[in-house]
């Protein structure tokens, strides 16, 4: 039973570039959430996708966008990268958006912006 998988594991970009991160949810899960975790901080909620639509969004600018595919996999896109976007980006999956089921996290993508 595959858990949450994310790719790539590491990424180095320069300011102003664009990046796409990918996530496949745990088998049986249909909801994907994205989090940004800066060094020494807890994860910060970016947005959540369910039924191929963005259902909730945290306090992140429009430079952060996403997509969910019919197979429930998801992408996180960040445009016009800033140095402050350097962080661990975690994808988490769960089942449904009603009664809460614990999030299952992937190992994350470490993004470094230079």
């Amino acid at each position: 039973d595959a858990g949450v998988t994310q790719s790539p594991t590491h990424l180095i970009k320069t300011r102003g570039q664009q990046v796409t991160l990918r996530c496949s949810p745990k088998s049986g899960h249909d909801t994907v959430s994205w989090y940004q975790q800066a060094l020494g901080q807890g994860p910060q909620f970016i947005f959540q996708y369910y039924e191929e639509e963005e259902r909730q969004r945290g306090n992140f600018p429009d430079r952060f966008s996403g997509h969910q595919y019919p197979n429930y996999s998801s992408e996180l896109n960040v445009n016009a990268l800033l140095l402050g976007d350097s962080a661990l980006y975690l994808c988490a999956s769960s089942y449904g958006t009603g009664d809460y089921s614990p999030l299952h996290f992937g190992n994350g993508t470490r993004l470094t912006v230079t």
Binding site: T97, Y100, F105
Partner: protein, 112 residues
């Protein structure tokens, strides 16, 4: 503004010691509180607490929630070096758009 505060931010103890990690919260429309363990990358789920006073237990780990005083504790007894990790507390709110708010975590280091 909703917030989750964990203390201490870091803790170093010797193997065999018992530790207590704290999580206090101020949120509107509290729903549940969760504890996660983050060793290298992916946080792994430990407990979800919804009701006050009911202890959740898994091996040497246990946790309890106090909804009146707005806090939770995570206890680890007979600590082992494998318990070294960042322990994250998160609160789910029942607002129109359910939000999950994480604390900054407690970095626990167990000395052999």
């Amino acid at each position: 503004e909703d917030k989750v505060v964990q203390s201490p931010l870091s803790l170093v103890v010797h193997e065999g010691d018992t530790v207590t990690l704290n999580c206090s919260y101020e949120v509107t429309n509290f729903r549940s509180l969760l504890w996660y363990k983050q060793e290298k990358k992916a946080p792994t789920f430990l407990f979800m607490l919804t009701s006050s006073g009911i202890e959740k237990k898994s091996g040497r780990l246990s946790s309890i929630l106090d909804k009146k005083e707005l806090f939770s504790i995570l206890n680890i007894t007979a600590t082992q070096t494998g318990d070294s990790a960042v322990y994250l507390c998160a609160v789910i709110t029942m607002n129109r758009d359910d939000k999950i708010i994480f604390g900054k975590g407690t970095r626990l280091h167990i000395l052999p």
